[in-house]
């Protein structure tokens, strides 16, 4: 096999602080290591949950693990990486995400003449799509996830309803074909309708799902009888949409559903029970109330790596719970609103604890599960794993959910999931035990290719600038996108905001502290408070108002600074 040279990505942004590098053997010129052979020596090797080797060596050659143990001799052609005091684990496996697939731009479409009969692609019905055609091997999501120790993802196209089929991919490679381990690994679906056309509601999506499946079943059996004897009967029509269901009907291809919410999961089960397809539920966030229903469904489970944010300790309060600002004032009697607020905060805290302990609940229920990175921000994933462990999940169980369990659930346990002879050389090496708060990933091996993770630059970000023209997008129900203009005059900021459809509104209390920008404005839904972090020409944060709290992101026109 010819070694693919991995060049550092051109890092134009401050946040791109880690990049893959080939380790060269004392040579100025990049020379592909013969046979791609590496040896990690003198490390603590966790072959699988509960199987530990102290001061052991792992040898890799041609993308495979060729030796592992304490008394292993290093072959002469291997590049030695001294991993003293480091920890080696099998590469992590993500069971559902869009890793490697660039997010498509939202297009505004004209309202169709007859919203009840849109063309299939306008209705999100594209099960014939193949994620291979959509993967961009240099998409930064690949590197972000790999830097955490993930080596394999089940990645699916973006979209609603039936966006296409997903593939199991390696998180590294020069082309989509390079990356794909298992093509057409699952048919992806979301119970989400399309605005303005049929099916628009969840119930219509479910009705359409049933109809497509029954149509496919009928077409398939007619095609089979035609293939057996075509004489004297009309030829079956070719239909790529229905044909995408054929392997599902044969029980050879599972359907993987985004299944975040407790009701969503049950609706997916309704379809499974009606139609009988093999099922994987992914990105499960609210499974704990129906853990028995999930267990008896026999569906394969990937729990979400996303968690609700922890309640931050109100920094304005001292230990006695008195606000420093108000410490001059005497204790006022609590108003009804105060009592209501306290009650809500208490329940929110309990609620967050429930979300956090979900993996522990599933583990106690004896459900084999993996994890899904579909909606988790990669910067939160390590912290979230630690929170799940703090909430009762054992470290071994957490490691199983990252390695052996997903390998088994995806039918890849012969090839990956543990550090054993003959398995793929997918490894993650950290300087401390992985779940330790200070642990940093140092190396990741994907298919025997090495990626060295540079220690994150601890230096302060360059001073953030707020001035300029920002194009924002938001999850806000009515204000999805628009422009924010920010002016600066001797350190004082002011500006305007205009949503896609409305006129510009004055911003109030525009404040920039370090890289944190805050302002408010009067929107259609009353006062909206915006808090964002500026990072170069991007910002990311939340907009809060009476309708709730929504994410907001923006890009600045660099010329407008």
């Amino acid at each position: 096999m010819i070694k693919k040279l991995l060049r550092p990505l051109v890092a134009g942004f401050a946040f791109c602080l880690a990049w893959p590098q080939l380790i060269f053997a004392q040579d100025e010129k990049p020379v592909a290591p013969v046979g791609r052979s590496y040896a990690l020596t003198n490390a603590t090797i966790i072959q699988a949950p509960g199987r530990k080797i102290e001061k052991g060596t792992v040898v890799m050659k041609d993308g495979l693990i060729t030796a592992v143990g304490a008394g292993v001799t290093v072959p002469p052609d291997a590049i030695v990486i001294k991993a003293d005091s480091m920890y080696v684990y099998a590469g992590f496996i993500d069971g559902l995400s869009h890793t490697g697939v660039p997010k498509p731009k939202e297009e505004r479409t004209e309202r169709p003449k007859d919203p009840g009969n849109p063309p299939p692609d306008k209705a999100g019905i594209m099960p014939q799509n193949d994620v291979r055609n959509l993967i961009n091997p240099s998409d930064k999501s690949i590197e972000e996830l790999r830097n955490l120790g993930f080596t394999v993802s089940l990645t699916v196209p973006y979209g609603t309803f039936l966006p296409g089929s997903g593939a199991v991919v390696l998180l590294g490679g020069k082309s989509a074909d390079d990356m794909v381990l298992v093509n057409n690994a699952a048919l992806y679906s979301e119970l989400t309708g399309t605005q303005g056309v049929y099916p628009n509601t969840i119930m219509a999506v479910m009705a359409k799902w049933r109809e497509l499946y029954k149509n496919a079943t009928q077409n398939k059996s007619y095609a089979a009888s035609y293939a057996a004897n075509s004489n004297g009967i009309s030829r079956p029509a070719s239909d790529r949409i229905l044909e995408a269901f054929y392997p599902v009907i044969d029980q050879k291809l599972p359907v993987i559903f985004k299944s975040e919410r407790v009701m969503e999961t049950q609706r997916v089960f309704t379809l499974k029970n009606d139609l009988g397809f093999p099922l994987i539920i992914g990105d499960v966030k609210e499974g704990w109330p129906i853990v028995n229903k999930i267990k008896s469904s026999n569906a394969k489970v990937f729990l979400s790596l996303e968690l609700p944010e922890e309640v931050k300790k109100d920094d304005k309060k001292d230990d006695k719970g008195k606000s420093k600002k108000d410490s001059v004032k005497t204790d006022k009697p609590k108003t009804a609103i105060d009592i209501e607020k306290e009650g809500l905060e208490k329940r929110k805290k309990e609620s967050i604890a429930l979300y956090t302990s979900q993996p522990s609940v599933f583990n106690k229920a004896g459900i084999t599960f993996g994890f899904s990175a579909l909606s988790a921000k990669s910067k939160d994933i390590q912290g979230n794993l630690r929170r799940m462990i703090a909430a009762g999940l054992s470290e071994d169980a957490a490691l199983a959910a990252l390695t052996t369990s997903p390998a088994q659930l995806l039918g890849l346990d012969k090839r990956m999931g543990s550090i054993d002879n003959g398995k793929m050389a997918n490894l993650v090496v950290s300087d401390k035990p992985y779940f330790n708060e200070k642990a940093k990933v140092r190396y990741v091996f994907v298919d025997g290719n090495i990626y060295k993770i540079e220690a994150k630059d601890e230096k302060k970000d360059a001073k953030a600038i707020a001035k300029g023209t920002w194009n924002y997008t938001s999850e806000h129900p009515t204000d999805k996108s628009g422009k924010i203009e920010i002016k600066e005059d001797k350190g004082k900021h002011s500006g305007t905001i205009a949503s896609g459809s409305g006129s510009a509104v004055e911003l109030k209390d525009v404040n920039l502290k370090d890289n944190s920008l805050t302002f408010s404005f009067e929107g259609s839904g009353g006062k909206q408070e915006v808090t964002v972090k500026i990072d170069g020409d991007n910002f990311d944060g939340t907009v809060k108002g009476s309708q709730g709290s929504f994410s907001i992101k923006a890009k600045r026109d660099p010329k407008s600074k």
Binding site: R111, G116, G196, V262, M263
Partner: protein
């Protein structure tokens, strides 16, 4: 499964309003395994059974709301004038607070309906208010007949005619859409019958008709397996649908709202169609101006099975007041008035063999009131579903939510337009200009 949770209890010494078997004073009601086991004087409490001392209280059958939109995620699939294939039973949400609030008003079962944007909307689901479960299936009333929502008049003509410039634009168009749907369904049924018959022949090798869930559902209406519940106001359109149903041999039909029902009461009675009305809600759009608070009484006196519904999460909590209004206007008896919110909606939903009155063998769905429920002083104390107390006024914590959104902020009071029903939820986008692509 949660839905199989059945309770035991003894309700002591109450005034029992059976609705179908008269009023019994100082009477006990014994509940075993979620069913009413015995109604009588001085029943001895079985070992370890919960006893409710209802001395001075009134016990009535749990209230049934034949027209509601609570406990479901999604009301209108407003993209097409005919959407018979969609089914509210797919999107039941047992976590909605409205369920608990309805229990607070003595309601034990609701008809969770599709909206009225389409001439033929989606199928509805009959739910029992088993508050406390996360299991959507556990809310469904097992064995309740299938029902479907139809709509006449301004809603479908506004949404599809005005909104999208497609048929129906007029009341004639609505009739056409319904007749055409039934005709298509009839042909579809015949095609399948023919195919199934031919398939028996040796050596048959033809193709099956293309499976179509919409036509399947419409065919089920023609076969009498689904009860039609039709949103309607005007006498002419009500009479029109009676004729259409006669032409297609459809017998199971209840009209919803029916503000001009009093004009065609004898015709409704002769057909055997039900009427589910508001007590005194009208004039919220043009076709609802001609109305009267005597509607329920006139329909009842003409022998039409009549109920009073809410179509509204707030009104649902005082349907007993709404029934009480019929006595002010139409001088109905206590039993006639209570029947409007118990046995009659049960008949309209096809669940009267199990609910709607206090009789031995029926489900123990019970509401217990302080003061008579038809009195303005009536206050629900306990609401019992399948023999399990789901609402207890004396034990009613401030925050009864089953799941708290970790991101939630304190709700701010939202003032909504007064007198707005939920029937047109999910159609707003049709009335805003979002055709930005157009020049």
């Amino acid at each position: 499964m949660f839905g199989q949770d059945k309770g035991n209890m003894l309700i002591k010494n109450a005034t029992v309003l059976t609705v179908t078997k008269g009023t019994l004073t100082e009477t006990d009601v014994l509940v075993k395994d979620g069913k009413i086991a015995q109604i009588g004087k001085s029943i001895a409490a079985p070992q370890g059974v919960k006893v409710i001392d209802a001395t001075g209280l009134f016990v009535m059958p749990g209230i049934i709301d034949a027209h509601s939109h609570i406990a479901i995620d999604g009301i209108n699939e407003a993209t097409s004038p005919v959407t018979a294939e969609v089914f509210e039973g797919d999107v039941v949400n047992p976590l909605q607070m409205g369920i608990y609030r309805a229990l607070g008003g003595g309601v034990t079962a609701v008809h969770a309906m599709h909206g009225s944007a389409n001439a033929i909307g989606g199928q509805c689901e009959t739910l029992k208010l088993r508050w406390g479960t996360f299991d959507a299936d556990a809310m469904k009333m097992e064995g309740a007949p299938r029902t479907i929502k139809f709509a006449l008049g301004e809603n479908p003509t506004r949404v599809h005619g005005e909104g999208n410039n497609i048929v129906p634009r007029t009341r004639m168009g609505v009739e056409f859409v319904i007749r055409k749907s039934f005709s298509d369904a009839k042909k579809y049924m015949e095609d399948w019958d023919a195919y199934n018959k031919n398939r028996q022949a040796p050596g048959f090798r033809g193709a099956a008709p293309v499976y179509n869930l919409r036509l399947e559902t419409l065919a089920d209406i023609l076969k009498g397996n689904i009860i039609i519940h039709c949103h309607s106001y005007r006498a002419d359109e009500i009479f029109m649908l009676l004729k259409v149903c006669k032409d297609f041999g459809i017998k199971r039909l209840t009209f919803q709202h029916v503000n001009e029902g009093f004009k065609v009461a004898p015709e409704l009675a002769a057909f055997g169609a039900g009427a589910s009305v508001f007590s005194d809600w009208w004039a919220y759009k043009f076709e609802v101006y001609y109305s009267t608070a005597y509607n329920a009484a006139i329909l009842t006196k003409n022998g039409v099975v009549t109920s009073i519904n809410s179509d509204d999460a707030e009104m649902m909590r005082h349907l007993y007041h709404e029934a009480g209004k019929t006595q002010k206007y139409g001088q109905l008896t206590d039993e006639e008035a209570l029947a409007l919110i118990t046995i009659n909606p049960a008949k309209q939903l096809g669940i009267d063999a199990r609910t709607g009155s206090l009789e031995v063998g029926k489900d123990a769905d019970i509401a217990i009131f302080k003061n008579h429920p038809l009195s303005i002083y009536g206050v629900p104390q306990f609401t019992i579903v399948d023999g399990i107390v789901r609402f207890d006024r004396a034990n009613d914590p401030a925050d009864m939510r089953l799941l708290v959104d970790p991101k939630q902020n304190l709700d701010e009071t939202m003032f909504s337009e007064k007198g707005r029903d939920n029937c047109m939820d999910g159609t707003e986008f049709l009335f805003t200009d979002n055709s930005q692509g157009k020049k």
